[in-house]
Symmetry: C2
Subunit: 296 residues, 2 copies
């Protein structure tokens, strides 16, 4: 059976946009439940300034408290060398860096252009590489930008290729605003795969327009075998009006199992985790979690 | 540009499960708005007993009040000859009949087996044919049954073939409980297409497990060019626990336009209609309607 690797981004990409503070203990329990459900790649936090992302202010405490057992991968987002140093001090063994295929988005989101963001990441990736720390590179706005609209697949490919050349082991292509449709998603991924091998690409699609699962199916048909998702659909992009969150991990896993892929995930345990965190945060359950709810 | 025909089933399949009565005037306004948004196939009501489906008790009044302008198609669901006669009296020009690929579901839903349901429809379809009334045939449980679980694609094909042989111009294949995934949906449709030409098939998928758009994309890739959907995702199947409704027409149309298909639908007008009926019924908006909501 063919395998699809699911990268759970709920604790970071999901929770970072939650309006109310989530206790470190709740985050740790969420991560423990996700690991118990069979997820092996979980992005736990970001070493960004608490001034910009207060929800991630407990990053050092959280990472230090995580038991990094063999086989578990906990990449943490770092924006710069300072973030890398703090992450390493707290025990990070994998990291992720973040840029975009849109010049305008990069400027508004991380306050510099694409070139400058790559220049900033070069020493981060190099230092990580020197310590055998794998680096994941995010390319957001891969299917559209809230400021520029359409983004050419070749623009995405250029940024992905440069991240790969800098040393990123994996490139995660993000439909940050969720406007993509399946044909576009497939064309984008195939264009990127001309520069970076398909095996090193991940799809990170948001469900803001309801298209995420259809888009994921399209890129899986194209050969993508790594998919980012967020339990219970936690999160969303603060720049996309009415953003309704990331694609729900449980709906992705259900589809993947139906397609005959092995994910290593125990779906009922994942659905139970989705229900648990949704209740904690007062979020509505995903469609799948509602459908599989125990009878009253 | 290739065309996909969208059959709007919200006023019938959507509203029939609404717990509170919807006024005939609201239904008529909904249909008028859908037509103004460019939908040309709208299922307005069902000529079933008000004892079983109270929400459709106004079928004769509703149909009589509909202005059936040229180019508009308003197929009404009829369960038997009596229903057909009443529909014709009220001015029906197109009808639909309903059976399932699952013996258990058919027994519980329409109180007879598949063979008996087909025998019951034979004179209905024949009489309709004699009056040049096109008949649409629904085959529900095409991707799974709440009582029997998995349904073999060949079982779906057999029922579809028999409906076609009886005179149904079009066969709508329903994932009534919404459990299907894209590979399964495509395989089912391709199996049915060995018996009934693809051009006569429609996909009617529910979004209960979040899979509907991915499944629709898969069958569109396989050649299906008619898709059923329900504005605002109205409806759902009362037999599927936690059913979260039909697939939202606006999310389907958005995907189809993104794939380069012409639907004839004005998406902003459709989204506005979805918002309007959602507010009327106190339903949450679809993800797409939320994403496209006007700024506060």
């Amino acid at each position: 059976m063919s395998r699809v690797r699911v990268v759970e981004v709920g604790p970071r990409d999901g929770l970072q946009n939650e309006p109310t503070a989530v206790a470190t203990a709740v985050k740790l329990e969420l991560i423990a439940r996700l690991a118990a459900a069979g997820l092996r790649w979980i992005e736990p936090t970001a070493f960004v300034s608490p001034r910009w992302v207060p929800q991630m202010a407990d990053h050092a405490e959280l990472l230090a408290a995580l038991e990094q057992t063999p086989g578990m991968h906990y990449p943490v987002l770092v924006p710069n060398l300072q973030g890398l140093e703090r992450a390493l001090e707290a025990g990070a063994r994998e990291i992720a860096v973040f840029t975009a295929a849109s010049e305008s988005f990069t400027r508004r989101n991380i306050n510099c252009g694409i070139d400058e963001s790559l220049a900033r990441f070069a020493p981060v990736i190099e230092r990580a590489g020197a310590r055998d720390i794998p680096v994941r590179g995010y390319v957001s706005c891969a299917l559209g930008c809230p400021y520029e609209g359409a983004i050419a697949p070749t623009a995405v490919a250029r940024v992905a290729e440069r991240l790969a050349a800098l040393g990123c082991a994996e490139i995660s292509l993000g439909d940050t605003i969720g406007t993509g449709t399946p044909g576009q998603a497939r064309a984008m991924v195939e264009t990127v795969a001309e520069r970076v091998p398909m095996a090193r690409l991940a799809a990170h699609f948001h469900d803001t327009y309801g298209q995420a699962l259809a888009n994921l199916h399209a890129v899986i048909e194209a050969g993508v075998r790594t998919v980012d998702a967020s339990v219970a659909g936690l999160g969303g992009c603060p720049y996309a009006r009415g953003a309704s969150g990331n694609v729900a991990t449980e709906e992705v896993v259900y589809m993947l199992h139906g397609l005959g892929f092995d994910t290593g995930v125990d779906l009922p345990a994942l659905v139970e985790t989705a229900r648990w965190i949704g209740e904690r945060l007062g979020r509505p359950p995903s469609r799948l979690a509602r459908a599989l709810a125990p009878a009253d």
